[in-house]
C-alpha cells in the first residue's frame, strides 16, 4: 500500500473526530512542552549564572586564611593572622602566571556625610585591587602607590554608597565623608556592576588603601585575604599551584602538613554552580518526562477504545480489500500522526513558555536543539510504542465477525 494513501486513510479517520483527536494530543502537548520548557529554562539559568560569574572575572584567584591547629585545638580561620603583606610581595615577585595581586583588609562601620549615613564595608587593597575585582572607575582616579605608602585617607566609592550618602545627586568627587571618626576624601566613583549571583550588591563598596585600614582603623599588620589575577583564564590553574608553592615556602609548610591557607578560583565556583544547575536541569526534565509518558498512555488508551468502537469500520475496510497489514498501519499511522502533531504543538508551546519566563526573569533565552530533536524522536517513538498494541488488536480482527459486530 502506498504511503500517501495510508496517510490519507489515517488523517481522514482522525478528522472524523477532531475533538477527540485534540484531547488525545493534549497529553503529548503538555508532556513535550514541559520537557522543552524545563530543559530550556534550566540551560538559560545556568548560562545566566555563569555569565554573572564570568563578569566577576574567571581569572580571579582568592587566597583565604586556613584553619590552624595548635596542640590539637582547631582555631578556625576568622582570627588567624597567617596572611601578610610579605606573602603578597612574595607572590608578586615570584609568580609568573599572576598578572596582579593585592592584599584585602576589611572593616565595617557607619559612613557619614552630614545628615546622611549608610552602613558601609571598607575594603582595603593596593592600587591593583580595582582591576582585579573587575571594577572600572567612572569618574575621578584610582589611588596611587604613594597613597598606599602614606596610608592616605582617600577612597573610591561604588554607586550604592554614592546614592545613599549623596541623595540629592551632587557630585561626590572631592567631597569628604567620615568612616567612624576618620574623614576620607572621595577621589573616584566606580561604574555600576549590579548584583552577583548570590544577590549581593557589588556597588555597595568603598575601596581605600589597605595600609589605611590596617593602621588607622583596625591597628593590625596582617591581611584578611589575598586577591590575584591570573594572566588569563586558562592560566588560572597554573597560577593557583604557583601561589600554593610560594606560600608553602614562605609559611614553611612541609608536604603532608595541613595548609594554613586555602586558594580558590572563580573557575571552581563556575564549575560548582554549573554542576548544580546542570543537575537541576536533568532533574526537572526527568520530572517533566513523566508527564510525557502519561501522555503516551493517554494515546494508547484512546486508540484502544477506538478499536473497539470502530470494529464495524474495520470489518468494512477488510471486506473492501484492506489487508491486515493495512489496518495495522492505519492505526499505527493514526497514533503517530497524533503524537507528532501533538509534539510539534508541544515544542512550540514549550519554547513560547520558556521565552516568556526567560524574558520575565531577565535570563538569556536558549533553544536547546538537542532537546527539541530528542522530543520529536520521543514523540514518534511514543506513537509507535503506544499505538502498536491497539493497532495489532485491530488488525487481528476477523472480517466476518467484525462486519456482523453490533
Amino acid at each position: 500500500m502506498n504511503i500517501l494513501n495510508l496517510f490519507k486513510i489515517a488523517s481522514r479517520a482522525l478528522l472524523r473526530n477532531k475533538t477527540r483527536a485534540f484531547l488525545t494530543m493534549l497529553g503529548i502537548i503538555i508532556g513535550i512542552s514541559s520537557v522543552i520548557a524545563m530543559v530550556s529554562l534550566g540551560q538559560s539559568s545556568s548560562l545566566s549564572i555563569s555569565n554573572q560569574i564570568s563578569s566577576m572575572g574567571t581569572n580571579l584567584i582568592m587566597v583565604m586564611r586556613g584553619s590552624q591547629r595548635q596542640g590539637g585545638v582547631n582555631f578556625g580561620s576568622s582570627n588567624l593572622q597567617t596572611l601578610t603583606v610579605k606573602d603578597v610581595n612574595a607572590i608578586r615577585s615570584q609568580a609568573k602566571y599572576v598578572s596582579a595581586v593585592s592584599p584585602l583588609v576589611n572593616a565595617g562601620g557607619q559612613l557619614v556625610n552630614g545628615a546622611n549615613n549608610w552602613p558601609g564595608s571598607i575594603q582595603g587593597g593596593n592600587s591593583e585591587l580595582i582591576s582585579i575585582r573587575k571594577y572600572k572607575i567612572e569618574s575621578g582616579t584610582n589611588f596611587t602607590e604613594q597613597d598606599v605608602r602614606n596610608s592616605a585617607k582617600v577612597c573610591i566609592i561604588g554607586k550604592t554608597v554614592a546614592k545613599n550618602l549623596f541623595p540629592d545627586g551632587e557630585n561626590p568627587l572631592g567631597k569628604s565623608i567620615r568612616f567612624d571618626k576618620i574623614p576620607f576624601k572621595i577621589i573616584g566613583v566606580l561604574e555600576s556592576k549590579g548584583q552577583n549571583q548570590m544577590g549581593q550588591d557589588l556597588d555597595d563598596v568603598l575601596i581605600v588603601p589597605y595600609t589605611t585600614v590596617q593602621k588607622r582603623i583596625l591597628a593590625i599588620t596582617h591581611v584578611h585575604m589575598i586577591m590575584a589575577s591570573a594572566q588569563s583564564e586558562e592560566m588560572a590553574g597554573q597560577a593557583t599551584r604557583e601561589i600554593e608553592a610560594i606560600l608553602h615556602a614562605s609559611h614553611k609548610i612541609k608536604s603532608g602538613q595541613e595548609d594554613d591557607f586555602s586558594v580558590r578560583t572563580q573557575q571552581e565556583m563556575l564549575e560548582m554552580m554549573s554542576s548544580v544547575t546542570g543537575f537541576m536541569t536533568v532533574l526537572l526534565a526527568a520530572i517533566a518526562s513523566i508527564s510525557l509518558i502519561v501522555g503516551g498512555i493517554g494515546i494508547m488508551n484512546i486508540m484502544y477504545v477506538t478499536v473497539t468502537e470502530r470494529i464495524k469500520e474495520i470489518g468494512l475496510r477488510m471486506s473492501i480489500g484492506a489487508k491486515n497489514k493495512d489496518i495495522l498501519l492505519q492505526f499505527l499511522c493514526e497514533s503517530i500522526i497524533l503524537s507528532l502533531i501533538g509534539g510539534a504543538i508541544g515544542i512550540l508551546l514549550g519554547l513560547l513558555l520558556s521565552y516568556g519566563a526567560s524574558q520575565g526573569l531577565k535570563w538569556p533565552f536558549i533553544v536547546s536543539i538537542p532537546a527539541v530533536g530528542i522530543s520529536f524522536l520521543v514523540c514518534a517513538a511514543t506513537g509507535i510504542f503506544f499505538g502498536w498494541y491497539p493497532a495489532k488488536k485491530a488488525a487481528s480482527l476477523d472480517p466476518i465477525n467484525a462486519l456482523r459486530y453490533e
Binding site: N5, N17, M318, I320, G321, A322, K323
Partner: protein
C-alpha cells in the same frame, strides 16, 4: 456460451464448535455466468451466510473449490483474498456500513485507497462516475446522516461499483428499507444488471427474489432449488405501489 463469473464445485464448510462439528454447507455446486441476476434464498441456518462469506472471499471452504473470474480461491493466502475482494467483488450490506462523518464521495473512494495502482485523480473521477451511476451526483458532499436510508444504500452501491467488480454481492440489501425504497433499490440493481453487471442477491423475502432472474434456494446446507424465474420489473412494481 457466457463466461463463468462464479463456479462452485462440491463446496463444503465445516465449523468446529466446542467438540462438535457443524456442517454449514454440505456439498453445493452451481455456476453464475456473466450478466446474471441471481437471488440466493434460504431461512436462517440454511447456510446462506456461510455461502456468502465464501463467495465474498471472506472465508475459505473446507472442501471443494470456488472459482471467481477463473481464480481458484481455496488455496489463497489472507492477503491474496484481500486483493481479490478489492478487485473482483463489490459488497452491499444490509446496514450500509458507511463511514460516519465522511462525505458520500470519500465513502465511495474508500476501496480505491486500498488499490495502489490507481492515482488520486483517477480515484476521484471513478468515485464521481459511480455516484452518478446511482443517481447521487448532487449529493457527493453529504454526510451519511444527511442522507435517507435509500440514499445511503445507493452510496453503498456506488462504493461497491467503484472498483469495477466482476460481481456485486448484496447481503439483504433491502432488509433495512421500507417497501417503496426496496423497490427503488431493486430497480437500481436491475438497471445495473441490464448494463451488464452480474449480481448475486442474498435475501429471505420471496417478493424481492421475484425481481431477479434466477433463484437458488438453500436448506440445511444443500441447494434444494436452482431455477430461472421470470424477472418482474421493479419499475413496474414501483408504479403499481404508488397507485
Amino acid at each position: 456460451m457466457m463466461k463463468d463469473i462464479i463456479r462452485i464445485e462440491q463446496l463444503r464448510r465445516t465449523f468446529t464448535v466446542g467438540s462438535e462439528e457443524v456442517h454449514a454447507l454440505k456439498g453445493i455446486s452451481f455456476t453464475i455466468c456473466a450478466g446474471e441476476f441471481v437471488s440466493i434464498m434460504g431461512t436462517s441456518g440454511s447456510g446462506k451466510s456461510t455461502l456468502l462469506n465464501i463467495m465474498g472471499c471472506l472465508d475459505r471452504p473446507t472442501a471443494g473449490e470456488y472459482y471467481i473470474d477463473g481464480v481458484a480461491v481455496s488455496q489463497r493466502t489472507k492477503d491474496e483474498l484481500s486483493t481479490l475482494r478489492n478487485r473482483k467483488i463489490g459488497f452491499v450490506f444490509q446496514s450500509y456500513n458507511l463511514l460516519p462523518r465522511t462525505s458520500a464521495l470519500e465513502n465511495v473512494e474508500l476501496p480505491l485507497l486500498y488499490n495502489h495502482t490507481i492515482s488520486g485523480k483517477e480515484r476521484r473521477a471513478k468515485a464521481i462516475r459511480s455516484l452518478a451511476q446511482v443517481g447521487l451526483q448532487d449529493r457527493m458532499a453529504h454526510f451519511p446522516n444527511q442522507l435517507s436510508g435509500g440514499q445511503q444504500q445507493r452510496v453503498a452501491i456506488a462504493r461497491a461499483l467503484v472498483n469495477d467488480p466482476v460481481i456485486l454481492l448484496a447481503d439483504e440489501a433491502t432488509g433495512n428499507l421500507d417497501t417503496r425504497t426496496s423497490y427503488e433499490i431493486m430497480s437500481l440493481f436491475q438497471q445495473l444488471n441490464s448494463e451488464g453487471k452480474t449480481v448475486a442477491f442474498v435475501t429471505h423475502e420471496a417478493d424481492i427474489a421475484a425481481f431477479t432472474g434466477r433463484t437458488i434456494q438453500l436448506r440445511d446446507g444443500y441447494t434444494i432449488k436452482d431455477a430461472p424465474v421470470t424477472m418482474q420489473s421493479a419499475q413496474e412494481a414501483l408504479k403499481n405501489y404508488g397507485l
